[in-house]
């Protein structure tokens, strides 16, 4: 159970005068649900963006499944097996739910322009499999009945589920969820929690950024806390909850110059 899947080594990222991440190191083990929490502006989403290749870190590296991750080339990171969702939903709005999931599968296809123009058996077979798999994933997250609905017309909660299905379509080893419960009501949050449990049970490691402390504490095996771009704690939830620095960061300890 304690095989290391992702190791972040001394990650730093600065935007102008703001040190968004400073020297953040953490280790995620295969099969766990790892929580990343912290007050607003602590650098959680920046960490996601650096991890997924959207930004290049100023310093540090990620080692994923034994080898270093490429920086600045997000699609290569996805290819390596890291998929994400977005804090502000970023679906392909003009595509149906099914097409969104199928688009997520693009990286696992090898359909060349040539193959598509010829419509050879390989291409057709691949397309059939992608479609089947996409339906499966929609069923998995519970929105199969909306397969042909344009994603922008889905309800908020269903859009969040669709983002998860699209991310899973890339066949990740690590699924990074950026505040998946944001804006959800209690019922939806409970369903989300079940879904994340299922995903973990099916062998995908989960990295979770979340504000909902209850959700994080109930779901995560281990939690890291970021504050002003620095990691101030990392442990099992019960220990982190009692950590003095964490309590101060959340309640405003007064020793930070705001």
């Amino acid at each position: 159970m304690s095989i290391v899947l992702l190791e972040a080594k001394n990650i730093s990222k600065r935007f102008g005068g703001i040190q968004a991440l400073s020297d953040v190191s953490l280790t995620i083990r295969k099969g766990e649900v790892y929580g990343l929490i912290g007050p607003n502006g602590a650098g959680k989403t920046t960490f996601f963006n650096v991890l997924t290749g959207a930004y290049t870190p100023d310093q540090g590296e990620f080692v994923f499944a034994g080898t270093e991750l490429p920086t600045g080339k997000p699609h290569l990171v996805v290819e390596r097996g890291i998929a994400r969702t977005f804090q502000n939903i970023r679906l392909f709005r003009e595509m149906t739910a099914l097409e969104n999931v199928m688009a997520g599968h693009h990286i696992r296809t090898d359909s060349s322009l040539f193959g598509i123009l010829l419509q050879n058996r390989h291409t057709r077979e691949e397309e059939r499999l992608i479609t089947e798999r996409a339906y499966e994933l929609l069923r998995y997250v519970g929105i199969e009945r909306f397969a042909d609905t344009l994603s922008r017309n889905l309800s908020y909660g269903d859009q969040r589920r669709l983002e998860i299905a699209r991310a899973l379509a890339t066949e990740p080893q690590l699924l990074a969820l950026d505040e998946p419960a944001a804006g959800m009501n209690a019922t939806e949050t409970a369903q989300l929690r079940d879904l994340i449990e299922t995903i973990r049970h099916d062998g995908v490691t989960v990295l979770l950024i979340e504000h909902d402390v209850k959700l994080v504490m109930g779901l995560c095996d281990r939690v890291a806390v970021l504050d002003f771009g620095k990691k101030i704690a990392e442990d099992v939830p019960a220990v982190v909850q009692k950590n003095q620095a964490v309590i101060e960061a959340y309640l405003g300890g007064g020793h930070h110059a705001h």
């Binding site: 959207a54 003009e94 599968h105 990286i107 322009l113 598509i116």
Partner: protein, 365 residues
């Protein structure tokens, strides 16, 4: 004589005909000192027009001509609209890709005719098309890779100006390679026109243009809507960043878009040259501008819009050219047909900048 009549005379327009329009006269009588290519183009156009105006046959004939011209515009417009949809860039060099396609095909056809005199015209057509399409695809790829990619995050004006520069560059290179002369394009189609309806003529070239355009357009729509590549293209068009974070190699998709658009332009170039019988280094400019107009008319960024816009523009232009003489009480003749495209462009931009089918005016940064 009025001074303005002298001005017309200098332009090669028979001034008397402006004062005394001869009803029912055929238009060629008024064309004088035009460039040989224009004369040839117009001659071809006009020989497809029955001499008597104001009849049902004339209207039908103009509709046929309009559909033919329109489907060529549509093919070229697809290239503009695909690139705009994905990059938000008006690729003004697109028309010149068409020109290169026509000239490469011409070169290959001439070579084949000299080397193997016995080779059939269909074989020559297919081989020259088979050469022109990959050359243009490679060129489209190179243009994007060399000129536009490094400007991906530059302010919008920079790639636009670069596109105009690229257009000049291609024309100049073509002028160096093929000279300033108007080359006559070998007739690779049977010339005897068909007469589906009494008094309405359509040449085999025109039939081929209609069929080939329709097939290519259907194929493109299927590609964009039903394939993995198409989904990746649409995803990239909606949001580059998110598409790449979902595993789409956006650079590759953008390259592919240029490659497809350029391939279509090559086909359009060969069609135009086959239809009018000429090819020269600046032949891409006007069709390019018209196709851009068609794309804007239909709603730029929208594939269906490019097709509708192309056909509508072709029809308006063709029908307009047939009746412009009556409409303007003999003041203008069909050589002024370009007026329609640009009047339409103006009207669309003022009253419906999103075009006929367009809902989305890109606001991407």
């Amino acid at each position: 004589m009025q001074p303005w009549l002298h001005a017309y005379a200098a332009l090669g327009v028979d001034a008397k005909s402006l004062i005394l329009p001869r009803r029912g006269s055929s238009i060629p009588a008024r064309l004088y000192l035009l460039a040989p290519s224009d004369a040839l183009v117009l001659y071809n156009l006009l020989t497809q027009v029955t001499p008597t105006l104001n009849t049902m046959e004339t209207l039908l004939q103009q509709i046929v001509n309009g559909l033919v011209v329109g489907s060529v515009y549509a093919l070229v417009a697809l290239g503009y609209t695909m690139v705009y949809g994905i990059l938000g860039l008006i690729n003004f060099a697109h028309g010149d890709v068409l020109m290169v396609g026509a000239l490469v095909a011409l070169q290959v056809a001439a070579y084949l005719q000299n080397t193997w005199p016995g080779l059939g015209t269909t074989a020559i057509l297919l081989i020259s098309l088979g050469a022109a399409v990959p050359v243009c695809m490679l060129m489209g790829y190179t243009i994007e890779r060399a000129a536009y990619r490094r400007l991906r995050n530059a302010p919008r004006l920079a790639p636009l100006i670069t596109a105009i520069g690229m257009s000049f560059l291609l024309q100049t290179l073509a002028m160096i390679i093929w000279g300033r002369a108007y080359h006559s394009f070998p007739p690779l189609f049977p010339t005897a026109p068909l007469q589906p309806i009494e008094g309405v003529f359509i040449t085999p070239v025109q039939v081929t243009i209609l069929v080939a355009s329709a097939v290519l357009m259907v194929a493109l729509v299927l590609l964009v809507n039903k394939t993995s590549l198409g989904r990746a293209m649409r995803a990239t068009a909606e949001n580059h960043r998110v598409a790449s974070l979902m595993g789409v190699d956006t650079n590759k998709i953008i390259s592919t878009t240029f490659i497809i658009g350029s391939g279509l332009a090559a086909v359009a170039g060969v069609m135009i040259s086959s239809n009018y019988g000429v090819a020269h280094y600046s032949m891409g400019f006007m069709p390019g501008l018209k196709a851009f107009t068609a794309a804007v008319l239909g709603g730029i960024g929208n594939l269906g819009g490019a097709m509708v816009g192309g056909i509508v523009l072709g029809l308006v232009e063709s029908i307009g050219a047939g009746y412009i003489e009556q409409l303007s009480f003999g003041l203008l003749n069909s050589s002024y047909q370009d007026i329609f495209a640009f009047v339409i462009l103006g009207i669309v931009l003022i009253f419906r900048p999103t075009g006929l089918l367009g809902e989305r005016v890109s606001d991407r940064a």
